[in-house]
């Protein structure tokens, strides 16, 4: 069976007014299977959000998709006509943004905002629309969907607003949801509740999810596979357990070691120096040849400066872009 989403060799660049190109994604390839949750792990500026919006071709005007294929449910979205794209966006493939308070209209009741999504994609009578709206809201607010429907966004907490965005995303029964840092502004208890909702929905509707985050701990126990993005390239991709527990790429390895064990930390480990990745993420516009991580890499070799490593499979499910593994 073909995967639900297949991204091949995606290149996206931002073009300045002076015509200067800054690449944001370079040759990103991956796939998402039906019912699978793929975690995309990356730090500021590595291209996470560019990837999320590029899939739906919602990039800002100064961005350009230069190359690649985004095959979703058998159709290449990068070649799709605007009308075809409209039928897919929000209906088959939905996006959830980072800041829920900015994504909701402040002066429209929640119920109306959810029914707007339904009305954009389906023809329903007024009674039917209202019934469906409540039904969708009940998925994320089992106890008080009717009250939430009557509320304005400012009357809801951050966690409730995020639930509303999830309701809007699942309203038309999509097969894939892309969630960009859906819990970044929430406190840990609320964050846990929201992640729990994703888990429930995935089981109930066999939904596929791309969960984008900078926090590796969020993906443990939630994502089936993890894709590590570094400087616009896939550094490593594989099953969550393998990537987080036994990272192979020097970047993933260093990233995981820099996270304190925290609650599970030994008494001796507390207040001790954390291993850090030296330096800062590279400026992609200034990038010349060679591996993106070379200047910060503890394991660099001569060839790392000369050319870029290709993805090498360390086993059937796990691939790493690093010369240590061949390439």
């Amino acid at each position: 069976m073909a995967p639900l989403l297949q991204v091949q060799d995606l290149h996206v660049a931002y073009i300045s007014r002076a015509g200067k190109e800054s690449p944001a994604l370079e040759g990103v390839s991956f796939e998402v299977r039906t019912g699978e949750t793929l975690g995309v792990l990356g730090e500021s500026g590595c291209g996470k959000t560019t990837l999320a919006v590029a899939l739906l071709r919602l990039l800002p005007g100064n961005a350009e998709i230069q190359k690649g294929v985004v095959r979703f449910e058998g159709q290449d979205l990068l070649q799709a006509k605007p009308r075809a794209l409209e039928r897919i966006r929000g209906a088959r493939l939905a996006l959830i943004f980072q800041e829920p308070s900015l994504a909701l209209h402040p002066a429209i009741r929640i119920g109306e905002q959810v029914s707007d999504v339904l009305a954009a994609h389906e023809r329903n009578g007024r009674g039917e629309l209202r019934r469906k709206t409540l039904q969708v809201l009940r998925e994320v607010f089992p106890a008080d969907a009717a009250r939430i429907a009557e509320s304005y966004p400012h009357q809801l907490s951050g966690g409730q607003q995020q639930r509303v965005l999830i309701a809007m995303a699942i309203a038309c029964g999509p097969s894939l949801i892309v969630a960009d840092e859906p819990t970044a502004s929430l406190d840990p208890t609320t964050q846990k509740d929201i992640l729990e909702i994703f888990r429930t929905l995935r089981e109930k509707f066999n939904l596929s999810v791309i969960l984008i985050t900078h926090n590796p701990a969020l993906l443990a126990g939630l994502a089936d596979r993890v894709l590590v993005l570094y400087a616009g390239k896939v550094a490593e991709i594989g099953p969550t357990e393998q990537v987080l527990k036994f990272p192979q790429h020097p970047y993933t390895r260093a990233l995981m070691q820099s996270v304190p064990a925290g609650i599970d930390e030994s008494t001796k480990g507390r207040k001790s120096r954390l291993p850090v990745i030296p330096g800062e993420a590279p400026n992609l516009a200034a990038q010349e040849s060679g591996c993106r991580f070379e200047s910060r890499c503890p394991d660099r070799m001569d060839q790392c400066r000369q050319r870029e490593p290709a993805a090498v499979a360390v086993n059937e499910t796990h691939a790493v872009s690093c010369f240590k593994f061949g390439g």
């Binding site: 730090e43 500021s44 951050g158 929430l186 406190d187 840990p188 208890t189 609320t190 964050q191 846990k192 900078h214 926090n215 590796p216 701990a217 969020l218 443990a220 987080l244 527990k245 036994f246 990272p247 192979q248 390895r253 260093a254 990233l255 995981m256 070691q257 820099s258 996270v259 304190p260 064990a261 925290g262 609650i263 599970d264 930390e265 008494t267 480990g269 507390r270 207040k271 001790s272 120096r273 954390l274 291993p275 850090v276 990745i277 800062e280 360390v314 086993n315 240590k324 593994f325």
Partner: protein, 269 residues
Amino acid sequence: MDRLLMVERLAKRYERTGVLGAKKEVMALEDVSFSIGRALTLALVGESGSGKSTLALCIACLERPTSGRVVFDGKEITTLDEKQLREVRPQIQLVFQDPARSLNPRFSAIELVSEPLIVQGRLNKREREDRARDLLRKVGIPQEKASQKADEFSGGQRQRLAIARALSLEPKLLILDEALSALDCSVQAQIANLLLELQASLGLTYLFISHDLGMAAHLADEIAVMEQGKVVELGAADNLLRAPGQEATRRLIAATPRLGAADDLPRVV
């Protein structure tokens, strides 16, 4: 006198006027007591709205508590007038969550770090610049970037600038209000290390406010858990995490995403 800061039965009540003019009282802090020893770190953790930031403002003398006392360095500071506060405030400095918003983007690194010295009327121009350069070196900002504007720095470097600025008046207490929360994991580790180094070399005392229990557990000697304006549990970091005594603490521990240590697997070749 080994406790730098003592907070005793602190309460803060806000009055809110309802739609019909009816006054409603909101208890932001209720009967909060704790202390921090010199050169130690107390982490204050709790959910959003539990009163962590209000407490920080009361300690920094930016809000007046409704009742209770704050004793800093052996002196009660809750009853001081504005003039007396000018003496105390430099010793208690704050670092906020988002350095992109808390630093003036048009100021150079040197200007940002020397501004508090100008406000306090300390040192002459030459000395201020020397002090600023010295602080930038301490927080790991390269000399050649000293005249760069704040908005030309990355998020992690901006937070280094915010720390240097907070240190310019040689404070005894640093209040770090979600100071790592907006940063990436790898940058968090760099700044956490910087905080530990500075604490060791300058003998600083930290009040580390965060909803990230994992990082709090790494940096703190003691942890205080807040819920609805009250400190519900307080103890040595190790004990509190191993044997939490309160529901709020257990809930926070359960909600904290955990990774476990990354194992060093023999390399697959």
